[in-house]
Amino acid sequence: MMGASDLNASIQKINQKNNNIIDYNLIGLAHLDYDLFEENLVFNGKIYIDEKKQTYKLMCFSRMGVLSGFGMMNPNIYLQSYYASKKGFKGNLKGDGLQLGGTVIVDKNGNIVYSHDQKNYTDYPKEEEIIKFIKEYKEKHML
């Protein structure tokens, strides 16, 4: 599983081996604790805020709810919190914690060529899945 910092490290590795093929952008819901987040993240991309959640709605990302126990029954959430705290992230319970996110890769024309919608709080794309996608994309488009 990968959080934003792991994803960032993966993208750096992919770019080193693939002639800087991919841009990396993060979108968050609110400015809450952004400064603390930025301090702890060695990040090469850009970070944006979407307070109105327009892009979340556009991408149809899910929200956790009562029926899922707000996702707190998933033991991976505690494991992920532990690893995040080891990296200096203190955790943050402010704002809308029920909104889930996701990851897409788009081409220059806005075509979604890869997507991963979060199903729960600890659901992130796997590094090997992204590496495999990039390899196949390069072969298909002769990059």
Binding site: N25, L26, I27, G28, E38, Q54, T103, V106, I134
Partner: protein
Amino acid sequence: MESKITSSILIDSIFIENAKDKTKILFKNLWEKSDKPLILIHWLRRFG
């Protein structure tokens, strides 16, 4: 799986804010103004 974000009529009216300097940019500029062939966008639940 391939679909197009730009097929939505909403796309021309969605602005996001640069977290560092708080300037607003069009969401579609993430790919239209990029100098790279692929653009990864990761939506966070929260910062922290």
